[in-house]
């Protein structure tokens, strides 16, 4: 008791006795760095305060919100399919085919798309595997799978970024927004109701997807490259921020991709065949991309005229 009262007395009468010590622990808690004879990454920092914050953001905010968003997206697409069904051709197929995607465009599309799916599956496995796969596979098998998933994710990432940059270059011109896109949005792209809003080679929905890829995709690539090279000695804070940006952007892309895959496969008649064979029916072109159809028709007529300046568009006419 006398010891305790002495302790309180010293605190009460002479705050200076303790202030240095209290200050030091406050500074340590805030992540002050000192000197350490051990020469390893950030060894001179006793406590990094951001670690547990990052843990909460990853485990609760990102994993929790992400799971709900993915589930809601799949549910929304399923409900939409049940109500709206497949967007069919309004005119019967003419049998006359127009080239919509060149061979290199199709290769680039499926190159980037397959890497994207691989990255999404491996990435989601690292985030959710512990909650969903361990109980099913067991610790040992899941660990073996996760080891491979990590390596695949690390190597596929930069390859995906190459595809992304090339997509940005070849489709930039087609994806600039113009006035027709306003009407397209007002009519929900013809997805709701029976209208057929006008669209050029890319409709406004495709443009949104393109610009999502060019923003979130670029963020995913930059932060991913950073996370790929931990040997460069980046501060943990940089890695934590990179991880957060990486996962948030990745979720936006996965949600976008689910919508994109839905519209491109079961959602729209003739769309998937267009990307696989490169050719679409004339009726399809008229219905979905009327302005583009008119444009290539005009070019075709110019091409037929001897003086036409259309050699550079020639490849689009079959």
């Amino acid at each position: 008791m006398s010891r305790l009262s002495l302790l309180f007395a010293s605190l009460a009468f002479s705050p200076n006795t303790y202030s240095d010590e209290q200050n030091i622990w406050k500074q340590i808690r805030e992540g002050i760095s000192g000197y350490s004879a051990v020469n390893s990454q950030e060894s001179e920092i006793l406590i990094q305060a951001s670690g547990t914050q990052w843990l909460t953001i990853r485990n609760e905010l990102i994993a929790g919100t992400g799971a709900w968003l993915l589930a809601l997206t799949v549910l929304a697409l399923a409900v939409f399919y049940l109500i709206r069904g497949r967007v069919k051709l309004t005119e019967p197929p003419s049998g006359e085919m127009i080239e919509r995607w060149s061979k290199s465009e199709r290769w680039l599309h499926f190159y980037t798309a397959s890497l994207f799916i691989l990255l999404a599956i491996t990435g989601l496995s690292l985030l959710y595997g512990r909650s969903f796969l361990i109980s099913w596979l067991g610790h040992d098998s899941f660990s073996q799978y996760a080891d491979i998933a990590k390596i695949v994710h690390n190597y596929a990432g930069p390859l995906f970024s190459v595809g992304l940059v090339m997509m940005g270059m070849i489709w930039f011109q087609d994806n600039l927004f113009d006035k027709t896109d306003i009407t397209w949005f007002k009519q929900y792209g013809g997805m709701i109701g029976n209208q057929h809003p006008s669209a050029g080679r890319m409709n406004a929905g495709e443009k949104v997807w393109f610009w999502l890829l060019m923003t979130a995709g670029v963020l995913v690539s930059i932060t991913g490259m950073n996370l790929d090279f931990p040997n460069l000695g980046q501060y943990r804070l940089i890695m934590q921020i990179s991880h957060i940006i990486h996962s948030v952007s990745a979720f936006l892309l996965i949600i976008g991709a689910l919508g994109h895959i839905y519209i491109g496969t079961i959602g729209t008649e003739g769309a998937l065949r267009g990307m696989i064979t490169g050719k679409v029916d004339k009726s399809w072109a008229k219905q979905h991309h009327d302005l583009w159809y008119q444009q290539i028709n005009k070019e075709k007529q110019n091409f037929l005229k001897p003086s036409g300046n259309s050699a550079k568009y020639g490849s689009k006419i079959q």
């Binding site: 002495l6 350490s36 990094q48 512990r130 610790h139």
Partner: protein, 204 residues
């Protein structure tokens, strides 16, 4: 059951780094991996404070919460251990740990991390006690030999304490209260002086 804890008395630590040397030697820790380190705050200035830090064997261990393959486990003594056969070297435990305890040897191209290594409180790992595999992966299992962590056992100033949390915190609070005892009259209103420590030695 004892709840194992480390405690570093910052008034006693003299930054001799012997705890690090002892740890490296006892466990034959791989090159580039540091299970323990001493950090000096205000180095060379008034109020210089040195603290030896390693894995603190948290009861709410962030490493165990973030690990994608769930490779961490807690012993009955509250020691946080991990299974290197499950670890995939993702580095998330290093990002989450407040103390910078998890360490990674570089393994493979592009800075790929190897299996995580950290302080085991000299309690080995999931392999059989005293087996060769256990020593190779996790170092010596002193707890199974009835001994406490070597870093604390050989600390020359007894700054670093390791053992049952109740015992070492009692020891520490005893020290703290005794240190504050003034040789002057307690009611005189003069500043209380520590019997020893920086202020007593240098009177800044």
């Amino acid at each position: 059951m004892a709840r194992m804890k480390f405690l570093c008395d910052d008034d006693r630590c003299i930054e001799c780094n012997a705890c690090i040397t002892a740890c490296k030697n006892e466990h034959e820790v791989p090159w580039g991996v540091n299970r323990r380190r001493v950090v000096t705050i205000n180095d060379g200035q008034s109020g210089e404070t040195s603290i030896s830090v390693a894995c603190m064997h948290c009861s709410d261990a962030p490493c165990a919460q973030v690990c994608p393959v769930d490779c961490f486990y807690f012993t009955d003594d509250g020691v946080v251990l991990h299974d290197k056969d499950l670890c995939i070297g993702c580095g998330y435990c290093f990002y989450a740990c407040p103390f910078g305890a998890p360490q990674f040897p570089q393994d493979g191209a592009f800075g790929n991390r190897g299996k995580m290594d950290k302080c085991t409180f000299c309690a080995g790992g999931p392999e059989e006690d005293h087996s060769e595999a256990e020593f190779e992966k996790y170092g010596r299992n002193r707890l199974a030999e009835g001994k406490l962590p070597l870093c604390a056992e050989m600390c020359s100033t007894k700054a670093l304490l390791a053992g049952d949390g109740d015992v070492i915190s009692n020891l520490f609070s005893q020290r703290v209260t005794q240190r504050q005892l003034s040789q002057e009259e307690p009611d005189s209103g003069t500043a209380q002086v520590k019997l020893w420590g920086w202020k007593t030695a240098y009177k800044d």
